[in-house]
C-alpha cells in the first residue's frame, strides 16, 4: 500500500472522484494551473482539463456562490478556500444559502458540494492563517462538518463528502498535512511515511461520515478530540503514562454519540481538546453531550483544553497552542479528581 502525505491523499481523492464522476469539478484560488498553495490539487487541471479544475478570482462569496449554482444545476463542485481564515466573505453563502436550500425548497433543490479549507496554526501564520472556525459551521443546521487528522481518513472522508447529497465543510488542519504533528514543535518532524495512517489504498474507498474512530484504546480516561490534537493527545498519553482512550471524532456534525458515550461509560473520565478558542467552541457541545448522557458514570468533572480566547498570535504561537504539556497536565488533574 503506498504511503502518502495528507496532501497527496487529498490530491488522490480529488483525482479518483473526478475519474469516477465527470460531474465533479474543482476550483478555487490558485487551484488550477498552480495546483493550490498547499498543492492539494496539483496536476488535476493537466489531467482533467480546465473545464474540470480551474482558477478563480479572489472572491470567496463568488467561489461558494458559483458552487451553489453549479450544484443546483447538477454538478458536484468541490471547492477550496485557500485558508479557513478567508472563508468569511463566503460565509453568508454557506450559512444562509447552501445549508438551507434543501429545506427551504422542500427537497426540490439539493446541493451536493464540498467546501475544503486548511485550518489551524503551528506554521507561524499569525491570526490570518491559523484559525479553526469549525464551531461557526457546526452551529448551522444543514451542514455536515468534517475535520481530518491523517492521510487515510482524509482520502476516504473526502470521497464520502463528494458522494454526499448535501453540503459538507471539510476542514484540513494544515499542521498535519506533512506528518502526525504531536505538538513538540522543537523536535524533528515525523513524516507520514513512518506512520500507519500514512498508508493509503489506491483507488476508490470511503470513510463514512458521522462515524468516529478510536485512535488509541484505553481504560482510564476518554479524550474527545479531532484534527491535530489527536496526535497531541497521543503524545500526552504516552508521556503521562495514563491509559487514555483517544477518540478522533472525524465528523463533528452529525456526531457519533454512541462511540463517545460508550467510551465515557467505560473510563468514567473525560477531557475535551481542540485548537480553536475555548468559549462557545465545539468542546462545549461535547462536554454538554457527555454530561447529558453519561453524568452518572463520571468520576471527575470534564475538562476542556483549547486555544486561549485570544486572536491566534504570531510570535507566541507555542504559548497559545494546546500542546502535550497542557494536555498532560489536564489528564493528570482529571485522573486525580
Amino acid at each position: 500500500m503506498p504511503s502518502m502525505t495528507m496532501i497527496e491523499a487529498i490530491r488522490d481523492a480529488h483525482a479518483v472522484a473526478m475519474e469516477a464522476d465527470d460531474r465533479v469539478v474543482v476550483f478555487g484560488q490558485d487551484v488550477g494551473y498552480f495546483g493550490g498553495v498547499f498543492r492539494c490539487t496539483q496536476g488535476l487541471q493537466e489531467r482533467f482539463g480546465v473545464g474540470r479544475c480551474f482558477d478563480t478570482p479572489i472572491s470567496e462569496s463568488g467561489i461558494i456562490g458559483a458552487a451553489i449554482g453549479m450544484a443546483a444545476y447538477g454538478l458536484r463542485p468541490c471547492v477550496e478556500i485557500q485558508f479557513a481564515d478567508y472563508v468569511y466573505p463566503g460565509y453568508d453563502q454557506i450559512v444562509s444559502e447552501a445549508a438551507r436550500i434543501r429545506h427551504r425548497s422542500a427537497g426540490d433543490y439539493t446541493l451536493p458540494m464540498v467546501v475544503r479549507m486548511p485550518t489551524g496554526g503551528g506554521i507561524f501564520g499569525g491570526q490570518t492563517h491559523s484559525q479553526s472556525p469549525e464551531a461557526l459551521f457546526t452551529h448551522v443546521a444543514g451542514l455536515t462538518t468534517v475535520v481530518v487528522s491523517n492521510p487515510y481518513d482524509a482520502k476516504g472522508l473526502l470521497l464520502a463528502a463528494i458522494e454526499d447529497q448535501d453540503p459538507v465543510i471539510f476542514l484540513e488542519p494544515k499542521r498535519v498535512y506533512n506528518g502526525p504533528f504531536d505538538g513538540h514543535h522543537d523536535r524533528p518532524i515525523v513524516p507520514w511515511s513512518k506512520h500507519p495512517l500514512g498508508e493509503v489504498p489506491e483507488g476508490y474507498y470511503t470513510v463514512p461520515l458521522g462515524v468516529a474512530r478510536v485512535h488509541r484504546p484505553g481504560d482510564e480516561l476518554t479524550v474527545l478530540t479531532y484534527g491535530t490534537l489527536v496526535h497531541v493527545a497521543e503524545a500526552a498519553a504516552n508521556e503521562t503514562g495514563i491509559d487514555a482512550e483517544i477518540i478522533d471524532l472525524r465528523t463533528l456534525v452529525p456526531l457519533d454519540v454512541d462511540t463517545i458515550i460508550e467510551s465515557v461509560r467505560k473510563t468514567g473520565r473525560c477531557i475535551v481538546l481542540h485548537e480553536a478558542t475555548l468559549t462557545s467552541g465545539f468542546g462545549a457541545e461535547l462536554s454538554a453531550t457527555v454530561q447529558e448522557r453519561a453524568f452518572h458514570h463520571l468520576e471527575a468533572p470534564i475538562r476542556r483544553v483549547c486555544g486561549w480566547d485570544t486572536p491566534y498570535p504570531h510570535a507566541h504561537e507555542w504559548d497559545y497552542f494546546p500542546g502535550p504539556e497542557r494536555v498532560g497536565r489536564a489528564m493528570r488533574e482529571v485522573m486525580a479528581g
Binding site: V25, T56, G65, A66, A67, H103
Partner: protein, 376 residues
C-alpha cells in the same frame, strides 16, 4: 436607439448604459429598431399575464388585511419585467429571482392556487410552511428557491450558467436583483465571475427607485446609472424602460439569444417604479412623496400595453372589461380553493414534524431525537 448585432463589440455599445431602450411611444405606437416581431395573440397574452399578476397581488393583500396570511409583498407597477422576460426563456432555463418576480411563475403557467397555498402557509403549502409566503420555489418551472437574503442569488445564477456552459448545454440562467441590493459584494462577485468565465446569464437589475425607504441613489453612488456597473466588467449593458412590455420582451430576447449563442452575459437595468409599499410591514407614507406613481414619467405597464393594443386596432373597452373579469374570476376561484385548506392563522398548516425533514437527505440521529422530543 439602434439595436446592435448580438456579437457587437462591447466598446461599441458602451453608451447604451446611459440611454433608455423604449418601444412604445406616448400614443401607444411600437416604434424603432427594438420593436419586437410579436404576434397580436402574444401581446394580448402579455397583457393578460400582467393583469393576472396584479389581480393576484390585490387579492393576496386583501387576504393579509383579512388576517389570513402573515406577510405579503406585491409587485405593483413592475409586472412587465418578469412577465415579458419569462416569455423569452425556454423550458430548462433557470431564474434566480427575488421576491418581486411572481410574474415569472404566473407567465410560465404555474398553478396560481399553489402560490396561494404558500401565501396562506396552509396544509397544501408546497414548502410546508418553511418559507415566508412569497418566497416561492419550483424547479419544474425554472424558478430557483427565493432566498430573502439580498444579492446572494446573483453569483449562484452565474455558477448555474457556468455549469450549463461546462456541460455543453444551451440552457441559460437569469439572475435577478433590486437596485438597492447591488450595493452588496455578492453582486460584484457575480459580475466578475460572469465576465471572467463569459457565463450564459442575463443579469437583471430591477431599478424600482426604492430600497425600502432609501432612494436608488444610495446604491448607485456617483454613477449615472446602474447599467454603468457593467462597464467596468466589460459586460454589455442596456438600460431599458421596464414599464414597456415590448421593450422588455425585445431586450430580454436580445440578451437571451446572446447567452444561448455562447456570446456571454448581458446586464440590463430595468427602469421602473415600486408603486406599492415594500411589504405589508412597511408604511411608505412617511418617506415617499405624494403622487409619485402618477408623476412617474414611464407610466403604468398595463395601461401602456392596453393603449398599444387599442392604437393598433386590436382592443377596446369591452374586451378590456372581459379580460379583467376573467382574471378576477380566476383569482377568486383559486383563492376560494386555497382558502378552503385553511391558513397559518387558522392553524391549518403542514404537520410540524415535517420541519425536521429536508435539513439533510437523511434524518440524522440528533434531529430524530429532537423530533421525538418535539411531538411528545
Amino acid at each position: 436607439m439602434a439595436k446592435p448585432d448580438l456579437d457587437e463589440k462591447v466598446e461599441r455599445i458602451a453608451l447604451m448604459r446611459k440611454q433608455l431602450v423604449r418601444v412604445l411611444d406616448t400614443d401607444g405606437n411600437a416604434v424603432g429598431p427594438w420593436a419586437p416581431a410579436l404576434s397580436v395573440e402574444d401581446r394580448v397574452r402579455g397583457l393578460a399575464d400582467m393583469m393576472l399578476v396584479r389581480s393576484f397581488d390585490a387579492r393576496m393583500l386583501r387576504a393579509h388585511r383579512q388576517g389570513k396570511t402573515s406577510f405579503f409583498m406585491q409587485s405593483l407597477g413592475e409586472e412587465a419585467i418578469a412577465c415579458a422576460q419569462q416569455r423569452v426563456l425556454q423550458p430548462g432555463d433557470m431564474n434566480f429571482p427575488t421576491y418581486r418576480q411572481p410574474g415569472l411563475l404566473i407567465a410560465a403557467g404555474y398553478p396560481i392556487v399553489t402560490m396561494m397555498h404558500q401565501v396562506l402557509s396552509n396544509e397544501l403549502d408546497p414548502l410546508k410552511g418553511r418559507q415566508l409566503p412569497i418566497m416561492y420555489s419550483s424547479k419544474e418551472y425554472g424558478f430557483f428557491s427565493v432566498s430573502g437574503n439580498l444579492a446572494t442569488q446573483y453569483p449562484q445564477a452565474v455558477g448555474w450558467a457556468m455549469a450549463s456552459a461546462l456541460r455543453g448545454d444551451t440552457k441559460i440562467a437569469a439572475a435577478w436583483i433590486g437596485e438597492g441590493a447591488t450595493a452588496e459584494a455578492d453582486f460584484h462577485a457575480a459580475l466578475l465571475f460572469a465576465s471572467t468565465y463569459q457565463a450564459p446569464v442575463i443579469l437583471n437589475i430591477v431599478n424600482n427607485q426604492w430600497a425600502i425607504s432609501t432612494p436608488e441613489d444610495f446604491a448607485r453612488g456617483a454613477s449615472a446609472t446602474f447599467a454603468d456597473r457593467g462597464f467596468g466588467y466589460s459586460i454589455p449593458a442596456l438600460r431599458v424602460d421596464g414599464n414597456d412590455y415590448l421593450a422588455v420582451y425585445s431586450a430580454s430576447a436580445w440578451a437571451a439569444e446572446r447567452a444561448r449563442s455562447n456570446l456571454g452575459p448581458t446586464l440590463i437595468e430595468w427602469v421602473t417604479l415600486r408603486v406599492g409599499a415594500h411589504s405589508t410591514s412597511d408604511d411608505p407614507s412617511v418617506y415617499r412623496p405624494d403622487n409619485e406613481a402618477a408623476d412617474f414619467p414611464l407610466g403604468d405597464p398595463i395601461n401602456r400595453l392596453r393603449q398599444h393594443l387599442v392604437t393598433i386596432g386590436e382592443w377596446d373597452d369591452e374586451r378590456q372589461k372581459t379580460l379583467q373579469d376573467q382574471c378576477d374570476q380566476r383569482i377568486a376561484d383559486d383563492f376560494a380553493t386555497a382558502d378552503a385548506h385553511g391558513s397559518v392563522k387558522s392553524g391549518h398548516t403542514a404537520d410540524p414534524r415535517t420541519m425536521f425533514d429536508d435539513v439533510y437527505a437523511e434524518l440524522p440521529r440528533h434531529l430524530r431525537e429532537q423530533r421525538d422530543e418535539a411531538v411528545n
